[in-house]
Symmetry: C2
Subunit: 207 residues, 2 copies
């Protein structure tokens, strides 16, 4: 064996650079040459690690998914009980607008491709379904109000969090405001749970 290099790490490193370009210029800006420049390597090296542009984009999509997943899992790690887990996960999603704008933006760029591209679509669907099941289970385990259907509420919470994340991303509202909105909604649907007022981030709504 020749010079040993962590193949997977190198691939991810380059895919991360591609992801940054996705976020900045959309999928249009992802060019082998640009990626090479962004990653600080030669154009030939990008070819060495990826079979082609499609392979590179696929890897970038997976990196994006992994990045977002990682943030949520981190946020949830030290949670105390299902209601707290649910709250932390949702706040992590709305926080993506400022903590991880690159994966979020890249996610939007890929979303347009998800329609028509079976692989990307499956990536979205599989992830979305898994998250939905998880959220629904957390809702059910958090002492929901009588008129709350966990499945529908999971869609509502997920939609709310995603929409708020976009709002935060566009600067329409502050993270704190978005977090307060999520907390307010959680208090409404989970009267039995103590969805704490000790917010980990700023939470002074302004307008």
């Amino acid at each position: 064996m020749p010079k040993q290099v962590d193949h997977a790490a190198r691939r991810e490193e380059i895919a991360q650079a591609a992801l940054r370009l996705c976020a900045r210029d959309g999928l249009a800006g992802v060019t082998i040459g640009q990626v090479a420049q962004e990653a600080g390597v030669s154009k030939g090296l990008v070819q060495h690690y990826f079979a082609g542009k499609a392979d590179l984009l696929r890897a970038s999509a997976h990196v994006m998914r992994g990045e977002i997943e990682r943030r949520i899992l981190e946020a949830v790690r030290d949670a105390r009980g299902p209601a707290d887990t649910l709250r932390r996960a949702l706040l992590a999603v709305v926080g993506l607008g400022v903590t991880a704008p690159i994966p979020l933006l890249a996610g939007h760029a890929f979303l347009a491709r998800a329609v028509g591209d079976p692989e990307i679509r499956d990536l979205y669907r599989a992830g979305g379904d898994a998250v939905h099941r998880e959220i629904a289970a957390l809702v059910a385990a958090s002492g929901p109000a009588a008129d709350v259907d966990p499945g529908a509420e999971a869609h509502a919470l997920l939609g709310l969090a995603r929409g708020l994340a976009d709002g935060v991303l566009l600067g329409e509202l502050a993270v704190g405001d978005a977090a307060a909105i999520v907390d307010h909604h959680l208090r409404r649907i989970l009267p039995g749970a103590a969805t704490g007022s000790d917010s980990p981030s700023s939470s002074r709504p302004s307008g």
Copy 2:
């Protein structure tokens, strides 16, 4: 004056073709040549009506905004009272996933560009702010519950509708389910208003 052609109409026609490409392939797929082919005109004609690619993209963004605005205004036209107006507007937004996937997808494609491009960002911000004010006013006029702040609730409703529209677009849930979720939320925050059960669209939740 020479051969009279509706200049604005021709421009919009071509911009619509560009918008379809945005939705299908993302901003990456918007090429002068491709746009010409999609619109069924010559490459030179696209140049004749647009100063360059930036001009074309700008026009497409405005067409997208106009399309979405049109759908919402149509949905709101025959509304009876503020609560009904609010409901119809929100249902129109979640319905975009099936009634207007092209502007919605194109909107996502442009969103990635909104960060960094002042003009597109202003388009988003201006539109978002106006809609937010409108929604907040409708909430305030619809007899909200005591714990409802119209401004925050407007963000919540808008975020919820946008997030659900994405879910519908990705096929994660049906329009009817999304509509039911919106209705459920509206009933919670507007106890004084009759947010009708006589839905204009299908509204049989399934899961």
